[in-house]
């Protein structure tokens, strides 16, 4: 009698997520231990207590941001500026590609090919070392320009894809009910495209944040650069890089999570099979 209830209890537990979650936690712990053990075996001295002061300090009862937070501020400013500029570039490029003008299409195509077939880091160097001295730009402008041009190319493809991926039947129905091209675009195509575009566009913003770390290579003191400077001075390599990664993760994961919420909000009510 007792044993049967116990058995039922266990089979019930086995069907809940509990064993999986426990297994997952155990796996993470094992990985962490392995990592700690191996680094220690290599002679690495973990000194987590020295890390906090690089994030912030309390002096005279006041909050003083450390170099990591200052770097984060720079990262956020670069990202904000590039985000605005890249969306502008993306919109114009998408419209160019969808337009009837051969000239506009050619300009957009060449721009996209160049950006998509070279690494961002080379584009940054190119902007910083070649373009900037020619037109008299400072490092900041060069960084923001290069980042925006890079992300703008990918974002423009997202926008174009959102518009062209709409089933032809939607255009045809709009057309058959007598709507003109502009009305079809405005009332039928764009509202639907927008809902498809927004989630991947936020994803592209996550990429922008990640890619912004590369501006450290042209001497912008962003979060990554601050990390490099601290590591060079203190040799706290693992601690600092873990903290830096964590800061990036918090921001990007929050954004990514908001995407899935957004997707539900935007599509939930009329998930539709064309």
């Amino acid at each position: 009698m007792r044993s049967r209830t116990l058995k039922r209890f266990f089979t019930h537990i086995l069907r809940t997520p509990v064993p999986d979650v426990l297994g997952f936690v155990a796996l993470l712990a094992a990985l962490g231990l392995l990592f700690a053990y191996n680094t220690a075996a290599l002679g690495y001295r973990w000194q987590w207590h020295r890390v906090l002061r690089f994030i912030f300090t309390i002096r005279d009862g006041g909050f003083v941001p450390g170099p990591l937070l200052t770097g984060l501020g720079v990262t956020l400013r670069v990202v904000a500026a590039s985000l605005v500029l890249s969306i502008l570039i993306a919109l114009v490029t998408a419209l160019f590609r969808l337009s009837r003008s051969l000239l506009a299409q050619t300009i957009a195509r060449v721009y996209l090919e160049v950006i998509r077939n070279t690494p961002l880091i080379v584009q940054l160097f190119f902007t910083y070392f070649v373009v900037a001295p020619l037109v008299g730009m400072d490092g900041w402008t060069a960084a923001i320009l290069a980042l925006s041009l890079f992300e703008g190319a990918y974002a423009s493809e997202i926008i174009r894809g959102g518009i062209t991926s709409l089933p032809a039947g939607q255009w045809e129905a709009a057309y058959s009910t007598g709507l003109g091209r502009r009305d079809a675009l405005r009332f039928v195509v764009l509202p639907q495209a927008f809902r498809r575009i927004l989630p991947p566009l936020v994803g592209q913003a996550v990429s922008l944040i990640k890619d912004s770390a590369l501006v450290s290579t042209i001497a912008i003191y962003d979060l990554t650069m601050s990390g490099q400077v601290i590591v060079a001075r203190t040799f706290l390599a693992f601690e600092i890089w873990f903290v830096v990664a964590l800061i990036y993760l918090v921001i990007t994961v929050t954004l990514s999570a908001s995407v899935s919420v957004l997707r539900h909000k935007l599509l939930g009510k009329y998930e539709y099979h064309y």
Binding site: T177, G178, L179, Q192, Y270
Partner: protein, 259 residues
């Protein structure tokens, strides 16, 4: 393909005058497929013409040419006195004159049923929101869906969606309705409700071109039937005659397979 029609033709809009005039229309696709190989037909007012034929024979292409979704390579198409040519105004006019119902419904999924039907009235005919909505409700009553104005397409069954699509196509009070296999994407138990709506329309005197695989319905509602194969109209005649004793061997062969 652009045509001018004789002046007296245009003024004289009596019942005998065909409302749809198709002459030697050829349509070739980019891949070399000749979907329409010189078809001609005149369709009178209040006439219901059913188009039957095997898959890939050009039925959809024929309908799509009628309202300008496809541009024919040559030949002439005139709808209610308006030639379908490269003139933008004429094309728009024809789209208002001809409503179209698709196999896949093609409702706008981001708008409520009501908005789906309002849209063209407001944007094309310049109706006010209230005016449009009043008309919309009337149309929805006609198709038996007056209580679903605020539903989204995704919340409706296939049959209901198709009835909304018919109401939407009727919103601009077209003179001609084109149906492209309106029931082919529906579950069997929903086919009836859509056919009922179409039957009512025919009874009210709407000019209709109906592509369908529902042979019973075609024989019952059609005034004339067209059998099309490989882009050609093989046989045109009174529906009963075509269905019961077709002249052409190919028609008989096709009908014996589907009936």
């Amino acid at each position: 393909m652009s045509t001018t029609i004789d002046k007296d033709d245009k003024d004289d809009k009596d019942d005998k005058e065909p409302i749809i005039h198709v002459r030697n229309v050829v349509k070739t696709f980019g891949n070399g497929v000749r979907a329409l190989d010189g078809v001609s037909i005149d369709i009178g007012r209040r006439e219901v013409v059913v188009v039957v034929g095997p898959s890939g024979s050009g039925k959809s292409t024929f309908l799509r040419c009628l309202n300008g979704l496809e541009t024919a390579d040559s030949g002439e198409i005139v709808i209610d006195g308006i030639p379908l040519d490269h003139n933008r105004k004429n094309r728009l006019e024809i789209r208002k004159e001809a409503g179209m119902v698709f196999q896949q419904f093609n409702l706008f999924p981001h708008m409520t049923v009501g908005r789906n039907i309002d849209l063209a009235q407001i944007r094309v005919r310049g109706a006010s929101t209230e005016e449009a909505r009043r008309n919309t409700c009337e149309l929805l009553t006609k198709v038996g869906l007056e209580d679903r104005v605020d539903a989204y397409p995704a919340q409706l069954s296939g049959g209901q969606q198709q009835r909304v699509a018919i109401a939407r196509a009727l919103a601009l009070r077209p003179r001609v309705m084109l149906f492209d296999e309106a029931t082919s994407a529906l579950d069997p138990e929903m086919i009836g409700e859509v056919l009922d709506v179409m039957r009512d329309l025919a009874r009210e005197g709407m000019t209709m071109v109906v592509v369908t695989h529902e042979m019973g319905f075609a024989r019952e509602v059609g005034d004339r039937a067209v059998f099309i194969d490989e882009g050609r109209f093989i046989e045109i005649g009174p529906a009963a005659e075509v269905f019961d004793n077709a002249k052409e061997e190919r028609t008989r062969e096709f009908l014996s397979k589907v009936l």
